[in-house]
């Protein structure tokens, strides 16, 4: 009876097993029959899906797997780090499985650590370069441009949160100072592992946690193995446009824990000037009097229109000395020998009369040598900061301008300027007390500064008459001393006083040609004197580090001015105190949201220029009278509000800001136009002038890390009202300016396609209180950059730039630039064939408002050109 019952039960269990349950037991052994321990056994019904059950073999190599509601056939897999993987399909209950396994070590393929795109640590955001780098990025600047909140202007200057960065570090060392473009535009992104953004960076350790900075700093961290060996490149090439072209470039950098050295030498005539031959090149007042491009320049890259011969050399070295001290030596020399041609049609608007139009063609030949050298000693410790920096700069311009209007005129401009400056700063921190001393001493001299013009009666150069000639020389000596003392009250508040003393001696002389022999009083200026500003600025600061800070300061400044006109003996003096309260508040709601408020009153008081009351020629047909004989005073009441939201990990950056100011001035600009517009003069008139300015800006960008794409949108609106006098009549000038910019930068298909598209719409409008007709101009500019990488070594790239702008003469003009080329990268060599201006656009037309005038420009462009270069990276 019992046997029957057991047999019956066994039959039932067996039937149940066959109908819905799988139980598998087994024993795993190696080739020698030893138990295989720790093997993972997975049970699958469907091999393409997740295992339905799993277990691990025990110390005896045995295992048991059971699964309800499962029927044969099933699949078993065996996986272990010590045995070869095995898989078997089981059609029916096998009883106890005996599975031999072959000994084989599991080898896992190494995967290089994929650093996250961004990491946030307090006020530091660390960006992984690989996450931002596209295949077409040539320099680290190309990567920096993609970081949220960062913009880079045409000169290479880097801005973060709309403010210029205060330091550019390489491995924590600031070698290049303000000339960091040499590094950012030449360092390869392949050599850099991370870029750190130090937000609100206080570079002086002694002031850290006490004095906040609004400016950020960047730090480049080199990849492992890039230290202690020279890195850089050598490039050379040739090509043809309308002449034979050449281009050569060497960049070398050596970074070690105790020294950094950067040397660069380059030259080209292929349309890449190294130093912008800017309008107001130079620093001294005498040099700045003359615009170096007085007959206009297109608002496009100088590489489009300048026929150049450019050379540049720079050597820089930083030595890390003991005790957190560095010694930095910088030197550079540049030569620009550039020329360009253009025609202008200037429409001088006149109240109550038809506008006067003047046409002029100009060929400008600009030659500039610049020399600079600097030596900096810096000690940056937690309790002591010490800096002494000596710099020298020399500037030598030799420019010629050929003008074609009714006749032919040649204008020349020579100037030499030297500047020597020594800066000394120290901060001492003792417990809760902070002492600061700052001293700047500067000598600027313009010994040679001459403008002249001759007019040719015909194309024959033999017969000419002097139109004008004038020498303007300047000398200035400046000294600034400041010191500060502050005391920390408890943990959050600080009070202090800053004392400053600025003394400037200036001399400016202008002499019209021939007036030395036959002095004519109205053609000469000779004014010298001093301006001393002594200020005491008590302040109170409350600061919850990382959360909230507010600073109220009330500068009381005493101004002492005394200038003497040597020609007539007149003495101008002014001695009185001024008060200008300032409030600055920063609130950091959390790590992402920051609000800033600045409000106060600023005063700007004139200088020697106000007493230069005889006219000075600025071009052969323009004269300016800088001053009125009395001191210019400007009082500006302002409020700025900005907010920034940034989530670096999400790649989101939002910024909005607004500002409003009212400025009271005691002078009005006067501009008069001669008959037919053949002469223009500008001066100032003593009369109260109130102007208002309002500005609103926003910027938003979102980096989608998974798509390797950045979307950005920004906009600006500016509204300004002021007074001008034109031809004796007062005119209210109301101007407004709007821009809206959209940008998408992307690296798609595993980096095989890189695109950067942007579109800018701008509108400018001016009305003159009904006294002259209102004017408005629209323009749209689209730029698209595309790089395609069909293979890992080949890049095909193209740039398109379309400018569709309204002309003052009516209608719209479109300018289309197309550049394209290809690069082949073979290990350390890179061969590039690049074509510029492929549509061979030869003229560039655009219009601008210049105060009360509308100027239509029409410039000659560089022709289509091709350049073949070879670059060797080391």
């Amino acid at each position: 009876m019992i046997r029957r019952l057991i047999t019956y039960l066994l039959c039932v269990v067996s039937a149940m097993s066959a109908s819905g349950k799988v139980v598998l037991t087994g024993e795993l052994t190696d080739a020698d029959g030893n138990p295989a321990v720790g093997v993972i056994i997975r049970l699958y019904k469907d091999r393409t899906k997740s295992p339905v059950a799993f277990t691990t073999s025990d110390r005896a190599g045995k295992f048991r797997l059971a699964k309800e509601t499962l029927t044969f056939p099933v699949t078993l897999t065996f996986a272990s780090s010590k045995y070869a993987a095995k898989e078997m399909t089981i059609e029916k209950d096998p009883g106890v499985l005996k599975v031999p396994l072959r000994r084989e070590d599991f080898v896992l393929e190494e995967v290089t650590v994929q650093a996250p795109a961004a990491r946030v640590k307090g006020d530091t955001i660390v960006y992984d370069v690989n996450s931002f780098k596209g295949k077409g990025d040539r320099s680290i600047e190309d990567v920096i441009k993609k970081l949220p909140g960062v913009t880079v202007d045409d000169s290479g200057k880097i801005y973060y949160d709309e403010e210029p960065i205060n330091n550019f570090y390489i491995e924590g060392m600031n070698l290049m100072g303000g000339n960091y473009m040499i590094a950012s535009q030449n360092i390869s992104p392949d050599d850099i592992s991370t870029i750190s953004v130090y937000e609100r960076h206080q570079p002086k350790k002694a002031l850290k946690g006490i004095v906040d900075s609004k400016n950020a700093a960047l730090n480049l961290k080199l990849k492992k193995g890039r230290m202690l060996k020279p890195i850089g490149y050598l490039r050379g090439g040739t090509g043809y446009g309308d002449r034979l072209l050449w281009d050569g470039n060497f960049y070398g950098m050596l970074v070690s824990p105790v020294n950094q050295t950067i040397i660069t030498a380059k030259g080209n005539n292929a349309g890449s000037p190294y130093v912008s031959v800017g309008n107001q090149d130079g620093e001294g007042r005498a040099t700045k009097t003359f615009n170096k491009m007085p007959f206009g320049a297109p608002s496009i890259s100088q590489s489009r229109f300048l026929d150049n011969r450019s050379g540049y050399f720079s050597a820089n070295s930083l030595f890390k000395l003991p005790d957190e001290t560095t010694l930095t030596v910088n030197s550079s020399y540049s030569l620009e020998n550039d020329s360009y041609e253009g025609a202008t049609v200037t429409e001088y608007l006149l109240p109550g009369a038809p506008a006067v139009t003047y046409e002029e063609k100009a060929s400008s030949a600009l030659q500039a040598h610049r020399v600079s050298a600097g030596l900096k000693f810096e000690k940056n410790k937690d309790r002591l900061y010490l800096l002494d920096q000596l710099t020298f700069r020399g500037l030598f311009n030799d420019n010629r301008y050929l003008l074609h209007d009714a006749g032919r005129t040649e204008q020349t401009l020579y100037n030499h300027e030297f500047r020597v400056r020594n800066t000394f700063k120290t901060v001492v921190r003792r417990a809760r007390k902070i002492y600061e001393v700052s001293s700047v001493t500067e000598l600027k001299n313009t010994p040679v500064n001459h403008i002249g013009a001759v007019r040719f009666a015909s194309e024959d150069a033999s017969s000419s008459e002097t139109v004008m000639g004038q020498t303007v020389k300047g000398l200035s000596f400046f000294n600034s001393e400041s010191t500060g003392f502050s005391f920390q009250f408890g943990r959050i508040s600080q009070a202090g006083v800053e004392l400053s003393f600025n003394a400037a001696y200036d001399r400016l002389r202008s002499l019209a040609r021939g007036s030395e022999e036959e002095p004519v009083k109205d053609d000469r200026n000779d004014v010298s004197g001093y301006k001393i500003r002594t200020a005491a600025t008590p302040y109170y600061r409350i600061s919850f580090p990382g959360r909230f800070s507010a600073k109220l300061s009330v500068p009381v400044e005493m101004l002492d001015i005394r200038y003497v006109n040597a020609l007539n003996g007149d003495v101008y003096s002014h001695h009185r105190p001024y008060l200008s309260p300032l409030l600055s508040v920063t609130y950091k709601a959390n790590q992402r949201l920051v609000l800033d408020l600045d409000a106060g009153r600023r005063r700007t008081l004139g200088d020697i220029a106000d007493f230069i009351d005889n006219p000075i020629y600025t071009t052969y047909r323009s004269v300016t009278t800088m001053g009125t004989g009395s001191l210019r005073k400007e009082r500006r009441d302002y409020v700025n509000l900005s907010t920034i939201y940034r989530d670096a990990l999400a790649g989101l950056y939002l910024m909005a800001s607004g500002s409003f100011s009212i400025t009271e001035n005691n002078t009005i600009s006067v501009s008069d136009v001669g008959e037919n517009g053949s002469s223009v003069s500008s001066s100032r008139l003593n009369e109260s002038n109130r102007s208002r300015s309002t500005m609103a800006r926003f910027s938003a960008s979102k980096r989608v890390y998974d798509w390797r794409t950045t979307f950005a949108l920004s906009g600006t609106g500016q509204w300004r009202t002021r007074k001008r006098i034109r031809s004796g009549e007062k005119v209210d000038v109301n101007s407004s300016f709007y821009t809206l910019t959209g940008r998408v930068e992307s690296s798609l298909f595993s980096g095989k396609l890189a695109t950067n598209l942007s579109c800018v719409y701008s509108h400018v409008r001016q009305d003159f209180g009904g006294k002259m007709g209102a004017v408005g101009l629209n323009s749209v500019e689209f730029t698209g950059k595309v790089s395609v990488f069909p293979t890992d070594i080949l890049e095909i790239f193209g740039d398109v730039s379309l400018n569709h702008a309204e002309l003052a003469t009516g209608g719209y003009k479109s300018n289309v630039f197309v550049d394209a080329g290809m690069r082949v990268k073979l290990r350390k060599f890179e061969i590039e064939l690049a074509g510029k201006n492929l549509t061979n656009l030869r003229r560039y037309e655009y219009a601008i408002y210049s105060s009360l005038d509308i100027v239509n420009y029409n410039f000659r462009l560089r022709p289509i050109q091709g350049l073949l270069t070879v670059r060797y990276s080391f």
């Binding site: 321990v37 190494e110 994929q114 650093a115």
Partner: protein, 289 residues
């Protein structure tokens, strides 16, 4: 005196002088040179290493932190710790035959690693054959140790979601509720039933782990094949239970000054200071129960 003796005497004097100078440079700090084997109870040799990025969010401080952690896989054991710990071990192993250097450039390098990858002395040692997990952590200079069964209470449910690729390995999904949090794991075909922190018990190595609140996200970001010995510190830790250690840690994190005062490590003015507002450190525990 013989010329050779003179030279020998001069050399000895110079050497003594140098040694004295070196000691002076080191100041009053007594440096202890101990080899790796002396400091650690070596239990296994790492054959594979998985680097994890661990993102944590503290809901009280509303602050996010990312640290880098390393799982060293041996034949019968695994060790989970901060990547900085591994890096500093590498420094010590590569210098002076495995001696620890606590000053100079090596110490700076160690600080660089801890600053970069985060610092913590917590280590989790899993023993596969013993089915045992040993945890060590340190607080205010004391080391604590707690043991528990391997993968204690981890009841995973396999999910049938589409597989995902992580570090080029096909991964499957599994979920479980464990010690107060709901976890989702993506386990791979790598033949280790291990994972980050205390996690494991799946039929393949866990490469990604997230909790349902989003406070923890642990993801494998790299694989290294370095070989080196590993184990737990050879010191004399306080033996405790995981519950007790977690409670102690929570108390310390919530009120640092209070803990210091309570333990008699500081006296005086700090007591008044701490009465104003307890200073709380970043805290985002894996285990809530």
């Amino acid at each position: 005196m013989n010329i050779h003796l003179k030279i020998t005497a001069i050399i000895l004097l110079v050497l003594c002088g140098l040694r004295a100078f070196a000691q002076q440079q080191q100041g009053d700090v007594q440096f202890e040179y101990r080899s790796f084997a002396e400091m650690y109870n070596v239990v296994d040799t790492a054959e594979m290493n998985i680097i994890y990025a661990h993102s944590m969010f503290d809901p009280v401080k509303k602050k996010k932190e990312i640290v880098y952690e390393l799982l060293s896989l041996g034949k019968d054991h695994s060790l989970y710790r901060m990547l900085a710990g591994y890096k500093s071990d590498s420094v010590s192993n590569s210098k002076a035959g495995g001696k620890y250097w606590y000053f100079g450039e090596d110490y700076k390098l160690y600080r660089t690693y801890t600053n970069t990858y985060g610092s913590s002395r917590e280590r989790i040692l899993k023993s596969y054959s013993d089915s045992k997990l040993t945890f060590t952590g340190s607080m205010l200079g004391d080391t604590y140790q707690a043991s528990e069964p391997l993968y204690d209470g981890m009841q995973w449910t396999m999910e049938e979601d589409a597989p995902r690729k992580i570090l080029d390995h096909e991964c499957r999904k599994a979920r479980m509720k464990w010690r107060g949090r709901e976890w989702t794991a993506w386990y791979s075909d790598i033949p280790y039933n291990d994972g980050p922190a205390k996690f494991g018990g799946l039929p393949g190595l866990i490469l990604e782990l997230t909790d349902s609140t989003g406070e923890h996200k642990i993801r494998a970001i790299g694989i290294k094949n370095d070989r080196y010995p590993f184990g737990l510190n050879n010191g004399n830790p306080f033996k405790t239970s995981r519950e007790r250690y977690n409670k102690l840690l929570e108390g310390y994190i919530s009120d640092v000054a209070g803990t210091l005062y309570q333990q008699g490590r500081v006296t005086g003015g700090l007591e008044n200071e701490r009465k104003k507002k307890p200073r709380r450190l970043f805290y985002c525990p894996i285990e809530l129960e």
